[in-house]
Amino acid sequence: MTSTARRGRSSAVAAGPAVLWFLLFMIAPLVVLFVVSVGVRGPGGGYLPGFTLANYGELETRLVPILNTVRFSLIGTAVTLVVAYPLAYYLAMKAGRMRMVLLALIIVPFWTSMLIRTYAWIFLLGNNGIPEVLSTLGLADDLRLLNTPFAIVIGIVYNYLPLMLLPIYVSLERIDPSLRAASKDLGADRLATFRQVTLPLSAPGVLSGCLLVFIPVMGEYLIPVLLGGGRSYFLGNALADLFLQSRNWPLGAALAGSFILLMSFVVVGYSRLTRRLAGPLPTEGVL
């Protein structure tokens, strides 16, 4: 009795810092966000105390950025997956001694600032970049790449590839080679082995890679500005405008809060689904 009580006390003490952290940096900001979202805009911008739901009524004026965000996040994640999976497969199964060198080559560019790397794409996709090369080769005339949805997807795939690649690589690398050998011995061809053994065993990596890409892309700000020319706004851009330019904090808070709520449902739903499909993900508990 006493020992259990003591153990309860000591585990409460051990959990203390985490609970405090959670209250301070997770719950408190959300409370502030909610309070601001039901307030009114000050005459010179900012926030004045009040209680109104009008800000939530105005959310529909930001419907386009919301839809853009969801659409580009889904497409971007899907394309990143399609690019990353074969690459991860090659690294894990075929690269042999080159593996570490290739992994380093993939990761080292990401030590440079994302801003600089994305800015470079302006010149690659612009008139004098890839379109000029293709035109000189006679492959395409008057191709327009910069400031298009295509450019935004390129930006997403380029910037988020490692977040997709690494979890898939890890799950592929962990697969016991004897399982695939057994599949072969039992008469399965390469495609059947891939479909029935490799792919299901790498599912946890795929599912957590998708989550790791999808969530930060939902909060993307830079790519739509640099590669989309500010023509396809994301939610992050709409929020930056509301807080920094029109200084309408209450509407900004309402928008941010609603989006956090929506995202929570998506993430919880996703992890329920994936647990059923593939068991607990490596990222579980982190997200």
Binding site: P43, V64, G126, N127, G230, A238, Q245
Partner: protein
């Protein structure tokens, strides 16, 4: 976001999340500044009165380091340059109090608010020995500071249009600009700045540059939304698109105009004959400036014609004092982008404090971008 000068300030800084780079740039600039000789015995007596430092809040590439060094050599006061990304940022720092800033260079539309809130002190004309009576009437004694009690124009400039030969037609007004823009397939750019873009579009529709009423702004909003899909970009980073041939016509500020036209004579920078924006950045001294005496000495020094002229040759923005204009390099003085003719700037308007602060204008702009 104020006066429209260098690319670095307007675009890159914003992208980097405002303050972070400003802080970095400030730090690196002051780090680059030649070390002040603390052992400069000849000026020790003087620096005793003035203090040993002056904190200058300004914009990137706006002040010639050699001129600042000359001030240090003459007075023993070291100039500590802080570079900002936007007027809002500067304002936030001043409003918080104890900013430590001795001289600030706000854009004109922020000034009435700063005066009203008591952030600035009246200029001590006895100490700075400046007489503005002969200065360019287009930029002195304006509504934002009648009689220049609190501020003196440092540099001024315009918001015009840049277009390339590829466009195949000559533009001379905002009406023409906004008529042609939607007929092209994504070749026109408007800047991501409500004052300049809403204002110029308003002028093209026959409205006032400072339009602020619901009906007028509604008209501008409807028009800009209708042409948005035909624009190449809404971005303040105007130069890459022009230089790469993606953009054929663009709203642009003086600073970008000077650089693009200098590097590529196929481009033209034109001020709308039907109106548009003129802007100025202005010397001012915050009320809580810790080194006010040094500030007066600095303003006296920086307005001596040779010093002011050197600063213009460096920054490539014009000044309002004709005595200074006479000493500026001929190539700069005769450049019509930097020094437009008097009649060219006559139809232009300064953005007012109301335009800068208007929630309606800001919301309109945010809605256009989010459409």
């Amino acid at each position: 976001m104020p006066s429209p000068n260098a690319i670095s300030r307007r675009s890159l800084m914003r992208l980097l999340g405002y303050g972070s780079l400003a802080a970095g740039a400030g730090a690196s600039l002051s780090a680059c500044a030649p070390p002040t000789t603390a052992s400069n015995t000849g000026t020790a007596a003087k620096s005793g009165e003035l203090g040993s430092t002056l904190n200058l809040a300004t914009w990137p590439n706006y002040d010639d380091p050699a001129v600042l060094q000359r001030f240090t050599d003459e007075t023993g006061v070291r100039v500590n340059v802080q570079v900002f990304g936007s007027t809002e940022e500067m304002e936030a720092l001043l409003r918080a109090g104890n900013s430590g800033i001795d001289v600030a260079v706000p854009s004109q539309y922020a000034i009435p608010g700063w005066i009203q809130s008591g952030l600035l002190q009246p200029l001590d004309y006895d100490k700075i020995e400046v007489d503005v009576s002969g200065w360019n009437k287009a930029v002195v004694d304006q509504e934002f500071d009648p009689g220049n009690k609190f501020t003196l124009p440092k540099h001024w400039g315009t918001t015009g249009m840049i277009f390339s030969e590829e466009l195949g037609s000559e533009l001379s007004s905002w009406a023409e600009f906004f008529k042609l823009a939607p007929t092209l397939d994504r070749r026109a750019l408007i800047v991501d700045h409500q004052i300049s873009s809403i204002g110029s579009a308003a002028v093209s529709l026959g409205l006032d540059f400072n339009v602020g009423d619901e009906k007028g702004l509604g008209e501008v909003e409807k028009f800009l939304k209708s042409i948005k899909s035909k624009l190449f970009a809404i971005s303040s980073d105007t130069q890459p698109g022009l230089r790469n041939g993606d953009t054929w016509m663009s709203i642009a500020w003086t600073g970008d105009g000077v650089q693009v036209v200098r590097d590529n004579p196929a481009f033209k920078y034109v001020i709308g004959k039907d109106g548009g924006e003129i802007w100025s950045d202005n010397w001012s001294v915050p009320k809580d400036a810790p080194h006010a005496e040094a500030a007066w000495a600095f303003l006296k020094f920086i307005h001596q014609p040779q010093n002011a002229a050197d600063n213009i040759n460096f920054s490539l923005y014009p000044h309002a004092d004709p005595a200074v204009t006479a000493m500026v390099d001929a190539a700069v003085r005769d450049n019509p982008v930097i020094y437009p003719a008097e009649e060219t700037i006559a139809p232009l308007s300064f953005a007012t404090a109301e335009t800068y602060n208007s929630p309606l204008r800001a919301e309109t702009w945010a809605r256009i971008k989010s459409s």
